[in-house]
Amino acid sequence: MLAKWIASVSVAVLAASAALVMAQEAPLQTAAAVPEFKAEQGAEQRTEFRTLDEETQDLKKQVLDLNRDLFLLEEELLFPSNTQTAVFVSMDVGEFFGLDSVELKIDNKDVANYLYTERESEALLKGGVQRLFIGNLKAGEHELVAVFTGQGPHTRDYRRAASLVFEKGIGPKYIELTVSDRETKQQPEFLVREWE
C-alpha cells in the first residue's frame, strides 16, 4: 500500500510543526525547519547536551573566578596602591553628544590619546565609566591636562580642555573627567572631580 511511502514526509510535517512557529528569532521563511530530534534519539542527545552544558557552565564559572583573581593580582603588581593613579571618563549630557577623542597629559607627558568607537561612546552616554588611564605617580603635586573632541547637536564640533593640579597622597588617587552640559546648556565642558 502506498501509505508506507508517505509515512516519512507526513511524520516530519506533523512532528515538526509545533516547534517551528515558535522559533521566534528566526524569520518564518527560514523557520521552515524540522528542528526537533526524532523521538528515539532525542533522550540520548538531550542527556549528552545537558552534560556538556553543565560542564561548560562549571568551566566558565571557574575561568571567571580565575580572571577575577588574576585581574586583582595584575593591578596589585603593576599599580601598587601607594603610587596608583587612575583617570576615568564619563558623560553627563542631555542632548546627543558623540565623543570622538580624549587626550590626557600628566606633568606635561602624554599618557593617553584615546579614539572612541561608536559603541564605546554610546556606552558612556548610557552611564558607563571608562578607565582611561592607570599608572604610577609619586606622592606630591602633579598637573593633569585633558582635551576632548566630539560632535554635539547639529553636527557641531567641540574641542574643550581642562586642567587640574592635584596632590598625590599615599593612597590610590582617582580622578574623574566628566563631559557635561549641565553648567552651560548645550555646551559640553569637562568637569573634573577628585575621588578619595
Binding site: L2, A3, W5, I6, V9, S10, A12, L14, A16, S17, A18, A19, V21, A23, Q24, L28, Q29, A31, A32, A33, P35, E36, K38, Q45, R46, F49, R50, L52, D53, E55, T56, L59, K60, K61, Q62, V63, L64, D65, L66, N67, R68, D69, L70, F71, L72, L73, E76, L77, N82, F88, S90, G94, E122, A123, K126, G127, G128, V129, I170, Y174
Partner: protein
C-alpha cells in the same frame, strides 16, 4: 537612591528584549556612585559580558561597590544570564528577586531565565521559572511568554496541558494568535482529535490572505492539515488545503507530494502524476522530492505503463546513488571538523563578536553540508551547542593570554624585588637620620614651658628679645638704686626707674594675650607637622618592613594561579573537543538518517523494478529477449 535601584538593574535585564539601544540611561536613570560600578556598566553596555563580569566580581571582592550593593547583585544575575550562565543566574534571582524588587523586573528576569532553560532543554526548570511570573509581562513579551509556556509543556509531551494553556489565552486581534492556533491544531491532531484539530488548522490556513506576513504560517498550516487528513486516510479532504499552499514557497514540495497522494489514494493515478512530475526537476535535498521519485514510477506502474515506470525507477536508483555518495562525502567532511569552521570561520575570528547567549548564527554558509543540515542548524539544541562552543573557544584564548601574562608577572615581581634591594640602604639611612623621639621630647618640653608661663602669667617670658633684655637691665637697676642715698638726684633716678619699669610692664601685659595665643597656635602647627612626619616615617618604615612579606605573598599567589590556569586550560581544551564532537555527532547522525532513508528508497526502487521485470518476463514467457533488454536497463 532607593527609587533608582530597579531602573539601573532593569538595564541589565532589558537588554535581551530591547537590544543594546533600548537601555539608554536618562537623568533619573543610572547615577554612578562608585567608579567601579561605572566601569562594569561601560563593559556591559558594549555587550562584553565576560569583561563586565570579571570587573564586577573583582569590585565585589575588593568592596568597591559601597553604594551599589543590591543592584550590583542583580546586575551580576543579569550578566550571568547574558553570558549563558543560567544556573548561577537562577541562584541569584532566587535570592535577590524574591526580596523587595520591582514586580515588573522580577517577572521579566524569570521570563528570560525560562527562555534560556527552554532553549537548552531544561524543561522542568523552565516551567518552574515561568510559574514564578506573577503579573503580565509588557505587551511585546506577554505573547512570547504564553507561547514559551505552551512549548515547554509540549516538549514534555503534555499536549493536553499545552492545549488548555493556549485555549485559555486566545486573544482575537493579537498578532500571535495565529501561531497559537496553529499549535493548538497540531496538538489536537497529535492527540488523535483530527476533526477538531483540522478545524483550527483550516482557520489558520485561511488567515488574512492579503497579509504576506502570514504566508509561511498559512502554508505550514495547510500542509499540516493536508497530511493530517492523509494520515487519517481521508484523501478527499486533504486536497483543498494542500492546493492552497503557494507554489513558490518553501512548503510547495510537500504540498505537491501530498496532492499527488490524495489523488493516488482515490486511485486517480493519472491526476497524481501531474504534481509528482512537477517535483522531478526540484532539489533532491528535499525529502518530498526524493519520495516523488518513487511515487512517479509507482503511479506509472499502477496505470500499466511498465516501460515508463521502469525508466523512472532506473532514474531514481541513479539519483539516489549519487545522492548517497554526496551524503557520504559530507559525513566524511564533517567528521574532519569542517562543519564548525564553515559555520564560525577560523578559530581566531570566532570570538571577536559579542559573546554569550544573545549571539545567534545569523547566516548559514552555502555549502553542501549546510544545505543538507539546514533544518538541524536552525534548531535550538544545535544553536545552543554552538554558543557553548564559541564560549569555549574564547575561554581557551583567554587562558592562553593569561599563561603569557603569568611569565610577565614573574618578571615584574623580580624587578620590584631588585629595586627594593637597591633602595634599601638609602631608605635605612634616611630613616635613621631622623630622630622623631627627640623631636617629640622637645615638643613636650615646649608645651610644659608654655603651661608654666600661663600659670604664673609670666608676661616677660613671652616678650621680644629686646624687651626681655630691657627688663633684665631694669631689674638689675633696682638693687643699685636701693643703696643710693636719699638725695634729690637719687630720688629722680628712682622715679625714672619706676616709670620705665611701669612702661615696659604695661607693654608686656598689653601684648601678653596675643602672644600667648600665637604660641598656642605655633604649638598646634608643630603638632600637626610632627604627626605628618611620624605618619610618613611610619609609612616608609612599614613599606620597607612589609615588602619582604608582600613579596612572599605575591610570589605564592602567582604560584597558586599558575596551576589553576594550566588545569583550566586542559579542561577547556577537552571541553572544546567534546563540544565539537557533539555538534559533529548530531550533524552526522542527521546525515546518516537521510542516507539510510535513501538506501531504503533505493531498495524499494530495486524491488519494484525487479517486480516489473518479473511481470514483463511472465507476459513474454516463450521469448526471453525483451526481459533481457529491460534487465539491462535496470542494472
Amino acid at each position: 537612591m532607593a527609587a533608582r535601584l530597579p531602573i539601573v538593574a532593569a538595564v541589565a535585564l532589558a537588554l535581551p528584549a530591547l537590544g543594546a539601544a533600548g537601555a539608554r540611561a536618562d537623568d533619573e536613570g543610572v547615577v554612578v556612585q562608585d567608579l567601579a560600578y561605572g566601569e562594569v556598566l561601560f563593559e556591559f553596555f558594549q555587550e562584553d559580558y565576560f569583561s563586565a563580569l570579571t570587573r564586577l566580581l573583582a569590585a565585589q571582592e575588593r568592596g568597591e561597590l559601597e553604594h551599589h550593593g543590591p543592584e550590583a547583585e542583580l546586575m551580576l544575575g543579569g550578566l550571568y544570564l547574558s553570558y549563558g550562565q543560567h544556573r548561577l543566574a537562577g541562584e541569584i534571582f532566587e535570592r535577590v528577586l524574591e526580596q523587595s524588587v520591582d514586580p515588573a523586573l522580577h517577572d521579566r528576569a524569570w521570563y528570560f531565565l525560562a527562555k534560556i532553560w527552554q532553549q537548552r532543554g531544561y524543561l522542568p526548570e523552565a516551567e518552574a521559572a515561568l510559574a514564578r511570573i506573577k503579573g503580565e509581562l509588557p505587551a511585546e513579551l506577554e505573547p512570547e511568554r504564553q507561547m514559551l509556556y505552551a512549548e515547554v509543556l509540549m516538549e514534555q509531551g503534555r499536549f493536553a496541558d499545552a492545549l488548555a494553556t493556549l485555549e485559555a489565552w486566545r486573544r482575537p486581534g493579537d498578532a500571535w494568535v495565529g501561531y497559537a492556533k496553529f499549535n493548538i491544531g497540531v496538538s489536537l491532531v497529535r492527540l488523535g482529535q483530527v476533526e477538531a484539530g483540522a478545524r483550527v488548522l483550516d482557520e489558520v490556513g485561511r488567515l488574512d490572505p492579503e497579509n504576506p506576513a502570514f504566508d509561511a504560517l498559512r502554508d505550514k498550516a495547510n500542509v499540516a492539515l493536508g497530511y493530517a487528513w492523509l494520515q487519517a486516510s481521508r484523501p478527499v479532504e486533504a486536497k483543498p488545503s494542500l492546493q492552497r499552499v503557494r507554489l513558490d514557497g518553501p512548503f510547495s514540495n510537500k504540498a505537491l507530494l501530498g496532492v499527488g497522494w490524495s489523488d493516488a489514494e482515490t486511485s486517480d493515478y493519472r491526476a497524481a502524476l501531474a504534481p509528482w512530475l512537477e517535483l522531478r526537476d526540484r532539489s533532491l535535498l528535499d525529502s518530498a522530492v526524493q519520495e516523488s521519485m518513487l511515487a512517479v514510477p509507482y503511479a506509472f506502474a499502477q496505470l500499466g505503463a511498465d516501460k515508463q515506470a521502469a525508466d523512472h525507477y532506473v532514474d531514481a536508483i541513479e539519483a539516489f546513488s549519487s545522492e548517497i555518495v554526496r551524503l557520504t562525502q559530507s559525513i566524511d567532511a564533517i567528521e574532519k571538523g569542517e562543519l564548525i569552521t564553515e559555520l564560525l570561520g577560523k578559530r581566531e575570528d570566532v570570538a571577536n563578536e559579542a559573546s554569550g547567549w544573545y549571539w545567534r548564527l545569523e547566516r548559514i554558509p552555502d555549502t553542501v553540508e549546510s544545505r543538507y543540515l539546514y533544518e538541524l542548524l536552525a534548531s535550538n539544541r544545535f544553536q545552543e551547542g554552538l554558543k557553548n562552543y564559541r564560549d569555549l573557544v574564547e575561554l581557551n584564548r583567554n587562558l592562553d593570554r593569561w599563561t603569557e601574562s603569568l611569565s610577565a608577572f614573574d618578571d615584574i615581581l623580580d624587578t620590584r624585588q631588585r629595586a627594593y634591594e637597591q633602595r634599601l640602604p638609602a631608605i635605612d639611612a634616611s630613616l635613621s637620620s631622623v630622630d622623631l623621639a627627640a623631636l617629640t621630647d622637645r615638643r613636650v618640653e615646649l608645651e610644659s614651658r608654655l603651661q608654666a608661663i600661663e600659670r604664673s602669667e609670666d608676661v616677660v617670658a613671652l616678650g621680644t628679645a629686646k624687651e626681655q633684655e630691657s627688663w633684665q637691665r631694669i631689674e638689675a637697676m633696682e638693687a643699685k638704686l636701693a643703696v643710693l642715698p636719699n638725695d634729690p638726684a637719687s630720688d629722680e633716678m628712682r622715679a625714672k626707674y619706676r616709670f620705665l619699669r611701669g612702661l615696659l610692664l604695661w607693654d608686656l601685659r598689653r601684648d601678653y594675650k596675643a602672644r600667648l595665643w600665637a604660641e598656642h597656635k605655633a604649638l598646634g602647627d608643630l603638632d600637626r607637622q610632627l604627626r605628618e612626619a611620624q605618619r610618613r616615617h611610619h609609612q616608609v618604615s612599614s613599606s620597607r618592613d612589609d615588602w619582604p612579606e608582600k613579596f612572599v605573598a605575591l610570589t605564592a599567589r602567582i604560584g597558586t594561579l599558575r596551576p589553576r590556569v594550566q588545569g583550566l586550560q586542559e579542561s577547556a581544551q577537552v571541553a572544546l573537543v567534546r563540544q565539537q564532537q557533539f555538534l559533529q555527532g548530531i550533524a552526522v547522525e542527521e546525515l546518516k538518517a537521510q542516507r539510510d532513508r535513501l538506501n531504503t528508497y533505493q531498495v524499494q526502487a530495486r524491488f519494484a523494478l525487479a517486480s516489473i521485470y518479473d511481470r514483463a518476463a511472465a507476459r513474454v514467457e516463450p521469448a526471453a529477449e525483451p526481459q533481457a533488454s529491460l534487465a539491462e536497463g535496470g542494472q
